[in-house]
């Protein structure tokens, strides 16, 4: 192995960066190159991979109690990325009609081959007040809408905390995302106003802890997509017990 060929200048630099011997200025240069040159970035990664087994030799040491609690406290307030992915999925599928058609077709095939399922009519849910705070999906997680579900009134009361009269040629549309269903529109809401939305029984059945409410920005008249929001989702929150 004494006759190993020299590394190319670029690879030597990548290896030095992975090893950690570069000074601050050279490190910055290496980071810039990694961002611009995929081949250089791959060299650095390959060298990190080669050297990483040195870390395997280190004995594990149990982390002190309490570290996890602190990590949890540092995570963003709203754990919504799964729902955001889903909303994006419905938005994209509204555009990619073929994928949606294929998916529905697959659904049909599955249904045909499934044995018949005995549907049990769910007993009427006992009245349970639920509420949700819909926080901004980008920037600071500040509340943009608050919602309360009142089963006695068979209604959802939603209050927009946005300044009244903002963005006149756009509307805010409220969506319910329950289980695996596609987002269901609950209607349009006006900035700065409260609204009482009467809910049909089948929607009431879906108002449960963990279901999500979202608000998207849509052209006048609401989303043109039958499958969910067509515009950006600005607020998102989860129904929970008061």
């Amino acid at each position: 192995m004494s006759e190993a060929p020299d590394l190319s200048e670029a690879e030597a630099f990548a290896a030095e960066h992975a090893l950690g011997v570069l000074d601050a200025r050279e490190r910055a240069e290496a980071e810039t190159r990694m961002a611009k040159e995929p081949a250089f970035a791959a060299d650095v990664e390959a060298w990190r991979h080669r050297l990483a087994p040195m870390l395997d030799a280190i004995e594990p040491v149990p982390a002190p109690q309490g570290v996890w609690t602190r990590i949890e406290a540092m995570l963003p307030a709203n754990d919504n990325s799964a729902v955001m992915n889903k909303l994006r999925f419905w938005r994209n599928s509204a555009v990619g009609g073929f994928a949606l058609a294929a998916a529905s077709l697959a659904g049909v095939v599955v249904q045909v081959t499934q044995p018949p399922v005995v549907v049990q009519t769910p007993a009427p849910a006992p009245g349970q007040l639920l509420n949700a705070s819909l926080t901004a999906t980008s920037g600071q997680p500040q509340p943009l809408f608050v919602a309360a579900y009142d089963p006695d009134r068979k209604a959802l009361i939603i209050t927009s905390l946005l300044p009244a009269g903002a963005d006149r040629d756009k509307v805010n549309q409220l969506w319910l995302i329950a289980g695996q269903d596609k987002p269901k529109s609950l209607g349009l809401i006006e900035p700065g106003k409260a609204k009482i939305i009467a809910l049909p029984l089948e929607v009431m059945a879906k108002m449960s802890v963990g279901a999500k409410l979202a608000v998207s920005i849509e052209p006048e008249g609401g989303s043109k997509s039958p499958d969910g929001p067509s515009g950006p989702v600005i607020g998102l929150g989860e129904l929970s017990r008061l």
Partner: protein, 200 residues
């Protein structure tokens, strides 16, 4: 560095409670973290925090700072899990590398005093083969150890010191009382040999 192991059908909960965490389980946790599942991050923490805390401590030799870095590492994982390519890299390598790099950043932030010590007598404790170590990971490690030990002592020492302490050429040269260009050529030659040996 961690190869796929044939059996991984244990349930995640019990497997994580024991040390038998397979690469498959870690990969599936990463996918779930990328889609925003906190519970998956908690399970990853259970499975890997001791190892990563060990890495931080080895580099920083300070419990409080190591705790800070460990926190930072997991918040980073939470934010960047979507950038992790399950098909390309081993989860454990990725996590250990983040822990090592963050620790070294922290070490550097302490300022030049942190490098005042000499590098003589630097000992790398070689962790005993614990039962949980995957055979393939151990293979990678043994191969690297073998290749490192084929280098001359001085080159081995500078490479290990650089890796575990993130010291620059300049500091290495000062501590070893050798010209910077000389230290640089030791390391570059050493790395070239290492690559050749690992490939063979």
């Amino acid at each position: 560095m961690i190869q796929r192991s044939p059996s991984c059908d244990t349930t995640i909960g019990t497997a994580l409670a024991t040390a038998a965490t397979t690469p498959e389980i870690l990969s599936s946790l990463m996918t779930r973290i990328a889609s925003g599942e906190r519970e998956a991050l908690r399970q990853l923490y259970q499975a890997t925090s001791s190892k990563l805390f060990g890495v931080c401590l080895r580099i920083l030799s300070d419990r409080e700072e190591s705790e800070d870095v460990l926190q930072d590492v997991f918040v980073t994982i939470w934010r960047r899990a979507d950038r992790f390519d399950v098909t390309r890299a081993s989860v454990m390598t990725w996590l250990s590398t983040i822990a090592r790099n963050r620790s070294i950043d922290r070490l550097r932030a302490r300022g030049p005093l942190a490098y005042a010590g000499t590098i003589d007598g630097l000992e790398i404790p070689d962790g005993a083969d614990s039962a949980e170590t995957l055979l393939s990971a151990a293979d990678d490690r043994n191969k690297l150890q073998g290749c490192l030990s084929e280098l001359d002592d001085r080159t081995q020492t500078v490479i290990r010191t650089a890796f575990f302490e993130g010291v620059t050429y300049e500091t290495l040269a000062r501590n070893m009382d050798a010209p910077l260009g000389t230290v640089k050529s030791w390391i570059r030659r050493g790395l070239a040999k290492l690559k050749g040996c690992l490939q063979s």
